[in-house]
Every structure is written in C-alpha cells, then in structure tokens.
C-alpha cells in the first residue's frame, strides 16, 4: 500500500520569486492524484520538491509503513546521448543491479532483466541503443527501472506528453495497473478526459493550490456525465 502525503504550510520559491504560495494539503494513500494547471504554474516543481530534488519551505510528511522504500519517479520525456553505445539492457542493468556493468551478468540477473523488459513490452528490444528509442520506448524503459524497485509511491511528470496514441495507451495501462495494486500515484497530466475518467483526486495548481477535490467537484457534474455518456457510446 502506498503512503499518504501531508503538506504542512508548504511553499516553494526560486530565488526571490514565489512559485507556489503556502498551502496545507493531505493526499490519501493508494489513490491517483492528478495535478493540472497552466504551464509554468509549478506542478513539476511540486513533484520535485516532494522527492527532495528542489528545496521548499514548510513540511512534507509521508505516512509510509515501508520507510525503507524509495519513491519511483518518471520525469518528463527523458533524452539520451544518441551516440553512446548503451543498450536498453545495459541501462536497466546498471540502474537496478550493483554488479559493475563491465563484469559478466549472472543467469539470474539476465532473467530478471528479461522479466522486467517483458513487463513493459520491451523484451525484443533489449539490444537497442538508448539513442535509437522512440519517446514511448524511453518512457517504458523508465517504468521498467521503477518497477524493479517495487515502490508503492509513484511520481509521474507528464508521462504521456509527446507520445503517439498507441504509446499513450500502453503507459495509461501501466498507470492503471499500479493504481489497482494500491500504489499512491501523484501525476502531472493535461488530458482532461483521462483526469475525469481515472483520477481519484484532482489538484489545480496555479502559483499555489488553486482548488482540489474529486473530478466531479473540479469539473462539475455536467462534465462528469458527459464523460460517462462518451464511455457508454464507445
């Protein structure tokens, strides 16, 4: 089960500019929390500060029974140096195993890598270089890396932006799987349709916490009904 998150008098500033004004918030455990809002509003910065990548004011509490766990983080579309001879398997091995990359992998290590790649549908692309990967493949590789840690707390920063529809569906399936498994997910996303369909809780960020609540509370009953009708007609 994922952690509950409490932000107490939380605020975020970069230099003298206040990016997020102070607010208090509790995010329930094992729910899909979606962050929306205009570009530059501070959504990604909020995610980064929760995992310690950006300094902030106020307190953040993670009510996480398994304290030793490490959060899983999927950043915005990552890029790799195209000229480096590093394959998907190399990257995954170096990311999740401590045995030095220049030593021979054991049979168990190879099986583990294949299993993880199969989970994200990259098993037949293990020898493809990082620079040759499409956006969707790169995101799925980052998912494989995060899945290896069996974390129950996931922070996803626009994981589907810039991907084609097929890749978006694959990533969407993985996110919904994590939700079913009881993970706490905090995700920046702009697709209102996805938000209304799958989110448990929506946070509208705009130089602070503008409003938050269920998708119905944020987008109104009408929008919610519209979505249901669309689903029925599909």
């Amino acid at each position: 089960m994922g952690p509950a998150i409490t932000l107490d008098n939380y605020s975020l500033s970069i230099g003298e500019n206040t990016l997020l004004n102070p607010f208090d918030l509790t995010l329930e455990a094992s729910k899909l929390h979606l962050l929306t809002g205009p570009n530059g509003a501070g959504k990604s910065s909020l995610l980064k500060s929760i995992i310690g990548l950006m300094p902030h004011s106020g307190d953040i509490y993670l009510n996480w029974p398994e304290q030793a766990q490490i959060p899983a983080y999927i950043p915005q579309l990552a890029s790799f140096d195209a000229a480096l001879p590093i394959t998907i398997e190399d990257y995954l091995h170096a990311s999740i195993q401590t045995r030095a990359f220049f030593l021979k992998k054991s049979k168990q290590q190879k099986q583990r890598l294949q299993q993880l790649l199969a989970e994200v549908g990259l098993e037949d692309k293990a020898q493809r270089k990082l620079g040759q990967l499409s956006g969707g493949e790169r995101q799925r590789l980052l998912f494989a890396r995060a899945l290896a840690q069996k974390s129950t707390f996931w922070l996803l920063d626009e994981p589907m932006t810039g991907l084609d529809q097929k890749a978006q569906k694959q990533i969407e399936r993985m996110i919904l799987n994590l939700k079913e498994q009881g993970c706490t997910l905090l995700m920046v996303h702009h697709d209102q349709h996805f938000v209304q369909q799958h989110a448990d809780h929506v946070l509208v960020i705009n130089n602070g916490l503008e409003k938050h609540g269920s998708p119905e509370q944020i987008y109104g009953q009408q929008a919610s009904r519209q979505t249901s009708e669309e689903e029925v007609s599909l």
Binding site: L53, I70, T98, F102, L130
Partner: protein, 299 residues
C-alpha cells in the same frame, strides 16, 4: 618486485626471446607504467566520455605543469616533485568542480577559463624555474619521457590502479547512471540503494585528477587528457553495447600505450613517449572513421 621482474626480463633478453632494448631497467619501468596506465586511462575514459569531462583532464594535465614549477620553487627535487604536483592538481580539480556547482557558467567555458589560468600561471613560473633546472626536465613534463619513470612512480601508479579497481567495482554502475540521469539517480538510486550524486561527482573528479597526474611522467601534461578521450571515442564508433565499449576502450588504450613506448625505441625514433602514444591512438581513430565511412558508402 620490480627488480625481480627486470631480472626475469633480462633472462628473456639473454635467451633471445626479447629484443636487446629490454636489458635496460628504464625500458622495463616504462613498459610496466604503460601496462598500468593503459587500462586505467581506458577504463576511466569510458566514463569520462559519458560524463563529457574530456577537457577537464586536459585542464588538470596543464595544472600539473604549474604544480611541478611550484614544487621546484619550493625546493622539491626537480625530477620528483610528487607532493606539490599531487596537492596542486587535486586542489585545482576540486576548485574547478566546486565553481561549476556554484555557478551557471557552462562547464566547457569554465574548463576553458581554468585551462588558460593553468597555462598562464605555469608560463609565469617557468621563467623562474628555468634558471634552476635543466629545461629538458620541463620538456619531459610537457610531452612525457620513458627515461624519467622511476620505481617510485610505478609504486604510486600501482596504488592508484588498485584504488581505481576497487572504486570501479563498487561504484561503476552508480557513476554511469548518475552521468546519464542525475535526477533519477538521486531519487531512485541504483539497485535500491540511494546515491549521493554530489559525493560521487567529487570522488570521480578526484580520481581523474590522481590518474592524470600519475600518468604525466610517461604521457606528458599536454597529452594526458587526449588518452582519456581518444581510445573511448574510437571504441564508441565500433561498439554495439556498453561492455564492448568498455573492453575495446581498454584494449585500444593499452595497445597504444605499450606500442607508443616500445616502437620509438625499437625503431630508434627520437619521439617522446607521450607523442608516440597519442599519435598512434589518433591514427587508429582516423582509420576507424574512414573505415566506417567506406562501409556507409558501400551500403
């Protein structure tokens, strides 16, 4: 141990297995140095290329010139100013990296500034140093010489090699992942263990500085950075995965170091060892580039 090794090599010379030039101890020393430096620079070179730190070692190499000049001025022996050389270069490397982490200046521009500073300071001090020592000693520092390698140098090199092997076995994956995606390494760690990316960066910088300084005697201050860069850049062109990249870099670097030491001696060419090593590595790089171009044209 080195004496024992030399006596065994002399035996091989006497029985005709090795050419006569190996009867001289300095050739044995140079060969051992090449066999230590080659794999060491090769192994580090792969990560230097991934981390885009090629010109960092160039700057530290030039810092070595200043370090030696200061050492001589402070009264250290002209052929062995070990304490000042290592202290100055380590401080130089740490300062460079510290400034990088505190400013928004792009790394290449910052290295350029430090490189210029190292050369300028070295040039300023050289005028004073030239009055005290034979100018050929400085030439050896700039371009390397197999004649100047001593058992003490080999001892230092062996210690640095041992430290590097231990660190590589423990931290190679972390360094690689932190180079590719520092933010992810910070958050998710490697193998479920948190990674202190800042500490790792400083440790890597220090190791590069140590290895660079240890290699100055045989390759030279001007050229030591090139050997961290060229073998890895060449191997990158002919490798399909990380292990190939690593192994081929090691092979190219070691072959060039050994050949660069042995060939000028065997062919009686008056070329400094550092120049010979880097010329061979560059020739191989150009050959691979041309070969790749020909392959592309055929396809």
């Amino acid at each position: 141990m080195i004496d024992y090794l030399h006596s065994q090599i002399s035996l091989l010379v006497d029985t005709g297995w090795l050419p006569d030039m190996f009867q001289y101890p300095f050739v044995t020393y140079a060969l051992i140095a090449a066999l230590l430096i080659g794999p060491l620079l090769g192994a580090l070179g792969t990560l230097v290329v991934v981390k885009r730190l090629a010109f960092f070692s160039e700057a530290v190499g030039h810092g070595a010139l200043t370090g030696i000049a200061i050492g001589i001025l402070l009264g250290e022996p002209a052929t062995q100013p070990v304490a000042t050389l290592f202290s100055f270069c380590l401080c130089f490397a740490l300062l460079l990296h510290w400034v990088k982490s505190r400013t928004q200046v792009p790394y290449d521009a910052l290295v350029g500034v430090f490189l210029a500073f190292a050369i300028a300071l070295g040039a300023a001090l050289l005028l004073y140093v030239a009055k005290k020592v034979n100018v050929h000693i400085l030439e050896n520092v700039l371009f390397g010489s197999i004649l100047t390698v001593t058992p003490t140098d080999l001892f230092i090199l062996a210690i640095i090699t041992a430290i590097s092997v231990v660190l590589a076995l423990r931290f190679a994956n972390q360094t690689l992942v932190a180079s590719l995606q520092p933010e992810l390494a910070r958050v998710q760690g490697v193998g479920n263990k948190k990674v202190n990316v800042t500490l790792l960066d400083y440790a890597f910088i220090l190791l590069i500085a140590l290895v660079t300084v240890a290699a100055v005697k045989i390759i030279g201050a001007v050229l030591v950075g090139a050997l961290l860069l060229i073998p890895a850049t060449t191997a990158r062109l002919i490798s399909g995965n990380l292990k190939q990249f690593f192994n081929r870099t090691l092979l190219i670097s070691t072959s060039c170091c050994v050949a660069g030491v042995v060939l000028p001696m065997a062919m009686e060419l008056p070329i400094p060892s550092g120049a010979a090593i880097v010329l061979l590595a560059s020739a191989l790089f150009l050959f691979i580039v041309l070969l790749n171009q020909l392959k592309m044209l055929r396809n």
